[in-house]
């Protein structure tokens, strides 16, 4: 078993924007006249190549995410990016840390698209479900006071659509559908693995532990992140009576590894500074619209911020990021040591953001981060063969036609009816002898193969 699973998450930033001092926010209201699509084309091309490279580097998976109307991450449709990645890779799992369910008034679209991706990719999809940041509610005009209810109703509808035979009727508070019957259904059974990110609110930790999904703590000082993951384990054990797998516990910790500690800091400092101070620049009123948290959660959250003196993300200096362990930066030995510490303290088996692109990094730097991670850090957390988790199992469906023909028999054969009530399999309908044989069986249509 791999002790720690390594995932990249490439936010696809657009760093060619004014500094934070000149903007209200890098989200929601940052004028899109700053966006040059020609530059965007180049960035998407770079970022997609970095994501595709994760397979050869030997990552356990590659994650894409969803944000709207911002310079921090230009991935408003994570499903589109996932689609591109699965087309250019063959084995690596692709995690969609969207879809922001409350933003969509048709959860079936999410059920359909994720199922499509799962079938096309041969069962390589991890389906995240997120509520999205507060900013998305401004950008999408969606009422934040409905977000929590709508999130869980959409989740329940999607899960039912994936796991129970259709058509069935859905009458909820937010969604009203007479015919729920999505085609296709997902390939992974009973459904793709589900990840839910959280800021550490106990409500989310509890709901995630209850369903045995993977909880992914987003950026936080290490003590807070550890606290949330320990809470998951405790809730799973004490309230729901099971011991979670380390693979149910993850955290996003931007990580940069280079040849030496000194070299790593020299290279990471400007880009992690951009990521937090520029990319994440947003006022509190955008981040926490009314109703996005319950009053009780808001009180706890605000109380913790005040009591522990937690700064907004965009006010953190590089030194804060290092000291409070929001990030991990160093040579291979330092990174190994810090990842081991993270793992021992929190019990987590999943690290998100282990290498890859941050801020305004050029391709070579993002690739270098991943290559050193792959060659000098990952093997330390793996059995002697160094394999990523997906290389330890067979593909979930046959990858060749010969295997497919030998092992997967459709329950029904296609059938057409001729005017004389003859039924036959259209796949042999061009062969006169087969047509003749079928005509001799009028009234006795064949079922199956």
């Amino acid at each position: 078993m791999n002790k720690l699973l390594f995932y990249t998450i490439n936010f696809m930033p657009y760093p060619f924007v004014p500094p934070p001092e000149e903007l209200e926010s890098a989200w929601v209201t940052i004028p899109n006249s700053h966006y040059d699509p020609r530059v965007g084309h180049r960035l998407y091309t770079d970022y997609l190549e970095e994501e595709i490279a994760t397979e050869r580097f030997g990552y356990d998976g590659v994650l894409v995410n969803e944000h709207h109307q911002n310079a921090y991450g230009n991935m408003p449709s994570p499903n589109l990016v996932a689609s591109y990645i699965i087309a250019r890779t063959s084995r690596i799992p692709v995690g969609i840390i969207g879809n922001a369910l409350p933003l969509y008034n048709h959860p079936l679209r999410v059920a359909e698209e994720v199922a499509m991706l799962d079938v096309i990719s041969g069962g390589r999809i991890i389906s995240g479900f997120v509520r999205g940041t507060g900013m998305e509610y401004f950008s999408y005009g969606e009422n934040p006071t409905y977000a929590r209810d709508k999130f869980w109703e959409a989740h329940d509808l999607i899960l039912k659509a994936w796991t129970e035979p259709g058509p069935f009727e859905w009458e909820g508070e937010h969604f009203h559908l007479r015919y729920v019957n999505p085609w296709p259904r997902p390939l992974q059974q009973p459904h793709p693995p589900i990840w839910i990110p959280g800021v550490g609110s106990l409500e989310t930790v509890d709901e995630t532990a209850k369903r045995r999904y993977t909880f992914m703590q987003v950026y936080a000082p290490r003590w807070l992140l550890t606290k949330a993951l320990l809470a998951y384990r405790k809730i799973a054990e004490e309230k729901y009576g099971y011991t979670p797998s380390p693979y149910q516990l993850g955290a996003a910790i931007p990580t940069y590894v280079a040849e030496t500690d000194e070299q790593a800091h020299r290279e990471a400092r400007p880009h992690l500074t951009w990521l937090f101070r520029n990319g994440l620049q947003h006022p509190a009123y955008f981040a926490f619209p009314p109703g996005s948290m319950s009053k009780k959660s808001f009180r706890n959250f605000l109380g913790t911020l005040i009591e522990k003196n937690i700064k907004p993300l965009h006010e953190l200096t590089y030194e804060d990021l290092i000291e409070q362990e929001y990030v991990i930066v160093g040579g291979p030995d330092t990174v190994i040591e810090q990842l081991e510490k993270f793992q021992e303290e929190s019990g987590a088996g999943v690290i998100v953001g282990a290498g890859g692109q941050w801020g305004a990094m050029p391709v070579w730097m993002a690739m270098k981060n991943m290559q050193i991670m792959a060659e000098q850090v990952m093997p330390h957390f793996r059995p002697p063969d160094g394999k990523p988790i997906w290389a330890r199992e067979e593909p979930k469906v046959p990858t060749t036609l010969s295997e497919q023909a030998a092992t997967v028999a459709p329950a029904l054969a296609p059938r057409i009816r001729f005017d004389d009530d003859t039924y036959m399999d259209p796949r042999v309908g061009h062969i006169p002898e087969e047509v003749e044989a079928a005509r001799n069986q009028v009234g006795a249509p064949t079922h199956g193969q």
Binding site: T145, K295, L302
Partner: protein, 273 residues
Amino acid sequence: MSESPATVPRPKRFYTEPEWLDVGEIRVAYRRKGSGEPTIFLHGAGATRMWLPFYEQMSASVDFVAPEHPGFGETEAPEWNFGFDDLVLHYRDFADTLGLSRFHLVGFSTGGWIAAAFAVFYPERLASLTLIAPAGVYVPGKPLTDLFAMPPERIATMLFSGREAAYLDYLPDGTNLDDIVHAYGELTTFAHLTWAPSHDPKLPRRLRGLRVRTLVVGAEDDWIVPNEHVDRYAELIPGARVVRIPGTGHGLLIQEPERAAAEIVSFIEGNAR
């Protein structure tokens, strides 16, 4: 959205103990004083839990009833999702429970929107309608200020059109956790009702047929509900009259309580039941 009334913080100035009335499943906190024409006042998205000087002025001439909306002040929000239509029914039941079959309805800002919606559905219950700096309609190019997209101190500036320093007593303590959490709760109810759309697209068509004597009160320079909204209401409601209170912003009831009360009382008395 709900919390026990015991934990609701009390403003330092103007706080008075409310009376309580069970209206359906909702326990309504309200304040009432005075005699004469029964007048129900619907507050805006803040300044709750207080017996404001404007209320005192009004109560010198009319029977002034000031309930707190569900999810505001000391009235708890229901557990279910609710909209303006539910509030109209709620205030019908509130008036019924108080035994007020015909009364004057006065609404400020978001309360003006509720009052306009009420008038559309129950015109026969109203002796008159007064809309003060009312929200609820859309004026192209002059949208309602997005109060969700600004910090609390900026909201204060917008409320008093840049002259908030004179009215700090009326504002919640921005440093006290209880006050901040309570304000978050009220803002949550406000968002629940008005996040999008921030007006009722059906209201203009419905107001055109309204047969209720209406006064629309505007500020001189309103930074929250632009002055054009007052004009729009007056244009939509047949026979509506407009007055503007000089030297005021959206906080006109706090800035000019005597002047505002005098205008409204005179209108109410001119339309006695």
